[in-house]
């Protein structure tokens, strides 16, 4: 403890230096710390003043703070040197100045007895930086009376405490000066250190984030709807026949039940393309009564329909194309007719594999009438109808061919954007056949011309150029971009990627 005679006009610097010398030797900054301490004190004063609602300039605050600091320091120095109050006070100053030391004052606070706290607060009614610490002792004690927990816990809890403190401070800030003023200042001082994250949310609950209100998908209702729509036609279908074990016996029953079904199928036929599984069955049935002369065809169709309806109930969702369930249905019919087995859902996977094989059997179905816009020609299959129960002859050869062709025929009808006749679609198939023939020949010639046995993209480009599709104005890449989906574009058009690589490589 150094003995300093108080100067006649104490500057804040000298006063604080005095205090510091008398205070805790732990403080690292000695000669310079006075200035820093003074600045700190001044800043604290200024900020607290600001926060307390009094709009004063920093200079004024500083001047006042200086004066008050001087006064308080003077008083403190003179009064309580023996009781080490300035030391503890300064410790509080130093510790509360940085933000992390929020905790410390509390721990320091506790051991400080109350009367000591009370006395200086009484004496320094006008705020000094030292005085700031004293009333600061009060709110922690009042706010967190039971907080003797370790520091980290305190830190988390302090936020809420600060919140309360803020509320109290804000409410108190309007009170007249005096102790309340001091306490409010300290509480407002708390504001500077406590990041006001929570206070905002507490004061404005509307700003708090709400979890997005998402309606849970009513899976139950969805499944119910599915079942309802899928069950309706098959119920009618299944009542009348025993399709699996005795197909021949079942066929007359099937035929009798024919008239019933078109009524249900009539409405669904329009939406046949929309509803993949169930309506394509009724769609088949709808077309069959159009030509009663084709009994066998009708029989086959009915069995197809039953198979399809069974499939729709059992396997549920079909493949991508609306033709696929028809394929499955047809395949079902085939298996029943020949093997007298009941494939049902077990064969749903092999059905999808063999779906294309039975493409031809679909073709008699939509042939009469024009309810469903499908592209299967009828004539070649009329021939096959009597053959179907007996042979598996040309099936594997023609069916995938027709299936692939049908893909392009559908594209044709899509591009044409006009309704088409069945015969026109057959015509298109023939054209496609011829076209593929020409294509292969040309490619062969080009590859041979280049001395290769493999057809490369260059050959194709040459072909397109000769066809007049690719010109000097229109390049291949332009055509690729126009007509192919994005995934193909990425595969066909060389593009530079990161790492100095080009894909596809040239």
């Amino acid at each position: 403890m150094a003995d300093h005679n108080p100067d006649s006009d104490p500057t804040p610097r000298t006063l604080l230096r005095r205090v510091l010398d008398t205070a805790d030797p732990r403080t690292p900054r000695r000669p310079r710390s006075a200035r820093a301490g003074a600045r700190r004190a001044l800043l604290e004063m200024a900020s607290s003043r600001r926060l307390s609602g009094q709009t004063r300039t920093i200079a004024r605050g500083r001047s006042r703070g200086a004066r008050s600091v001087g006064r308080s320091a003077h008083v403190q120095a003179s009064g309580h040197l023996e009781e080490q109050t300035p030391r503890t006070l300064l410790k509080n100053i130093l510790l509360t100045a940085p933000e992390s030391s929020i905790l410390m004052p509390e721990s320091v606070v506790k051991p400080v007895p109350a009367p000591e706290v009370v006395q200086p607060s009484r004496r320094e009614s006008s705020c000094g930086s030292l005085e700031l610490q004293l009333p600061e002792l009060e709110p922690p004690t009042t706010l967190a009376p039971g907080l003797l927990a370790p520091g980290r816990r305190k830190q988390r809890l302090r936020l809420s405490m600060f919140q309360q403190g803020v509320d109290q401070g804000l409410s108190l800030s309007q009170e007249p000066q005096g102790n309340a003023d001091a306490s409010s200042l300290t509480r407002s001082l708390n504001l500077t250190f406590a990041t006001p994250l929570q206070p905002q949310s507490v004061q404005r609950p509307g700003l708090a984030r709400r979890p997005p209100a998402r309606r849970a998908v009513d899976v139950g209702a969805f499944l119910r709807d599915l079942r309802d729509t899928s069950l309706a036609p098959p119920n009618i279908v299944l009542e009348d026949t025993q399709p699996f074990s005795q197909p021949t016996v079942g066929s007359p029953d099937v035929y009798h039940s024919l008239p019933c079904m078109p009524h249900t199928g009539a409405e669904d036929a329009e939406q046949a393309t929309g509803r993949k599984t169930q309506s394509s069955g009724p769609g088949l049935q709808n077309n069959s009564p159009g030509k009663p002369a084709q009994f066998l065809a009708g029989v086959a169709e009915e069995v197809d329909a039953f198979a399809l309806s069974f499939l729709s109930t059992s396997s549920g969702v079909s493949g991508e194309d609306e033709i696929e369930p028809l394929h499955d249905g047809v395949e079902e019919a085939e298996k029943k007719m020949e093997k007298e087995a009941s494939p049902e859902s077990a064969s749903s996977t092999p059905e999808s594999l063999q779906a294309r094989r039975h493409h031809q059997f679909l073709e008699p179905a939509p042939m009469p009438g024009a309810a469903v816009l499908s592209s299967e020609p009828a004539e070649p299959l009329l021939v096959r109808h009597p053959l179907r129960p007996r042979t598996t002859g040309p099936r594997p050869r023609q069916d995938p061919h027709k299936a692939g062709l049908s893909h392009y025929v559908k594209l044709f009808s899509f591009y044409a954007k006009m309704p088409m006749e069945r015969k026109a679609l057959e015509m298109v198939e023939k054209c496609l056949d011829k076209y593929f023939q020409h294509l292969c020949d040309d490619l062969e010639v080009f590859a041979a011309h280049a001395g290769r046995k493999t057809v490369k993209p260059e050959d194709l480009e040459l072909l397109m150029r000769r066809q007049g599709l690719v010109t000097d104005q229109v390049s291949l890449h332009v055509l690729v971009e126009r007509h192919l989906p994005l995934e193909y574009r990425q595969l066909l058009i060389p593009c530079a990627y990161g790492g100095n690589s080009v894909f596809p490589a040239q």
């Binding site: 044409a416 006009m418 062969e444 057809v455 007509h483 193909y488």
Partner: protein
């Protein structure tokens, strides 16, 4: 798969190339020839590595052929002021387009 996103359900078109079909046709017609699979497969994260390469351009050719055919037959039908495309329209169109696509 690249399905078209046309709203009308009737016109749901598969945009995927029927790769198996094209290869089969080519094999059947010209068993001695091979369709090239384009280049080396880059060891990159490519989400569409399952799709074919070599038949992409053949598919493009077919698409363009079908497109031209459809346009031509549509023109024929409009000229004869029919609202439906007939067999004759298609036949006439095919003659023209096949001649064009001879190469």
């Amino acid at each position: 798969m690249a399905l078209s996103t046309i709203v009308s359900q009737r016109k749901q078109i598969k945009r995927k190339a029927p790769r198996g079909f094209l290869k089969r046709v080519f094999k059947r017609k010209k068993p001695q020839l091979r369709l090239e699979k384009s280049g080396d497969l880059l060891v990159r994260f490519h989400p569409f590595s399952g799709w074919e390469w070599g038949t992409g351009e053949v598919h493009l050719n077919c698409l363009l052929f079908v497109h031209r055919l459809a346009e031509e037959s549509r023109t024929n039908a409009c000229e004869s002021k029919c609202r439906v495309i007939n067999k004759e329209h298609v036949l006439a169109a095919a003659k023209v387009i096949l001649k064009k696509s001879r190469g």
